[in-house]
């Protein structure tokens, strides 16, 4: 049987961790969505340098482990004189890492829209930017919602990387509670429940969006 006294005795730590995990996830979610969309557009843009920068970014970031990306911000930046709080460094690392995957997801969505649409839009006088904004992206969004939902769920779970750099998230406090009580299993079961409080609604929301948008297609 689970020892609930562990949960109640350390509620303040669990809640602080939960709150910080929620914040880190939300910040990284918004950040990586914006950054990822930008890089996806760069990657398929007709302008050479933009394309190269975006390709280099995606290929570099998504092919190294998340912890190294986070370390880049945590111990790499200080080497050039910029010291960030562990929480900020971790959230930035998480954003940059997730953005690479989001960029690929969105790019795939854009490429799924028939080329004829772009050609039609361009020949009716819309600029490249306008074509993207009014014709292609609104359609692509529907295609990418399911894979994007996966990325965001991964993002919430990946935020546990903050625990490694003392980022004060759920995992960090889980480790401290475990060290304090000498209990491993029960402590982390409660940590898992707190993660589920975040990820299950997110998962349900993605399914809902998927159903709604499927009708309008």
């Amino acid at each position: 049987m689970l020892d609930f006294s562990i949960l109640f005795d350390h509620m303040d730590m669990y809640l602080e961790g939960f709150w910080n995990t929620l914040q880190a996830s939300l910040l990284a979610l918004v950040g990586s969505f914006v950054l990822g969309t930008l890089f996806a557009i760069f990657r398929i843009s007709p302008i050479g340098p933009l394309k190269w920068i975006a390709t280099a970014y995606v290929e570099f970031v998504r092919n190294i482990p998340l912890i190294l990306v986070v370390f880049l911000f945590f111990v790499g930046l200080p080497a050039i004189g910029i010291v960030l709080e562990p929480f900020i460094a971790g959230t930035l690392g998480l954003t940059v890492y997730t953005a690479a995957f989001i960029a690929e997801t969105i790019r795939a969505g854009i490429l799924a829209i028939p080329k004829g649409q772009t050609e039609a839009a361009r020949s009716s006088g819309l600029t490249y930017g306008q074509t993207m904004r009014y014709i292609i992206l609104p359609q692509a969004i529907k295609v990418v919602i399911p894979p994007m939902g996966n990325q965001f769920i991964n993002l919430v779970k990946n935020s546990s990387i903050l625990g490694v750099i003392a980022g004060l998230d759920l995992m960090y406090f889980g480790d401290l509670i475990s060290a304090d009580t000498f209990v491993t299993f029960d402590v982390y079961i409660f940590v898992a429940v707190f993660y589920l409080i975040l990820t299950l609604p997110l998962s349900a929301f993605v399914s809902y969006l998927e159903r709604r948008l499927a009708g309008s297609r």
Binding site: F74, V75, P86, I165, A166, Y172, L176, F182, T184
Partner: protein
Amino acid sequence: MKANKLWKKVAGMGLVLMLSATALAGCGGGSKAEGGAQGTSGAQGAGTLAKIKERDKFVVGVKYDLNLFGLKDPATGNVEGFDIDIAKAIAKKVLGDENKIELKEVTSKTRIPMLKNGEIDAIIATMTITEDRKKEVDFSDVYFLAGQSFLVKKDSSINSLKDMQKGMKIVTAKGSTSAKNIRASAPDLEVLEFENYAEAFTALKAGQGDALTTDNALLYGMAKQDPNYRVTEETFTEEPYGIAISKGDAEFVKTVNDLLKEMKENGEYDKIYEKWIGTKPTK
């Protein structure tokens, strides 16, 4: 078409190979860890000493990331240090050969669960004897007496606990006594805990903290690695290190205590102490 079929075959074979390799690895690991205990009937409930003799190997949890106490030399792959020399002495006493040991890496976080699981026979990993821990494990007599102080930049103004100012950041390792002590002694400080001391030191070097705190014995090792850092002389706690043994195994505790006494009397302990710490023990 032909190539396609061939490819499928190769992939299939690869899969089978992988699966069987995993299965084999699983068996190997299992028999290694438990073969000794299950070799004869009625091994259940036998003391650690009997388990070690049956296995003909002393399995001990040590640190791999601590200069002077337990450090893995990346060049040779050997783990060396004060704790390892103590482990070797136990193996020599129990099994007659100091090389009959198997080292397993532990951290402050994993060591007690690993001892409780029976993965290791003892913990020799700079572990402070505390009342809390005594509820979980049994300890030998003190095998090393350390005290907590700070590792700071050479030009830092911090020389003791009194120099700490509100809001200063202190880094240390998760699950360590040092973290509890500093929180109790100076509640105004911000304490950040990392996976191990190597990472805490990395964080300190990256400017993520004003000082690193733990037992001076460990700090001297870190200062040796990087001459830009120094250890503050004043200690604000006493940290008696003990060898942790499964709860209730009085027989093995006595064996270890007798050995420690013997080593202190015949000078072997002093020799090991001087080899690693560089000075003679104070008592």
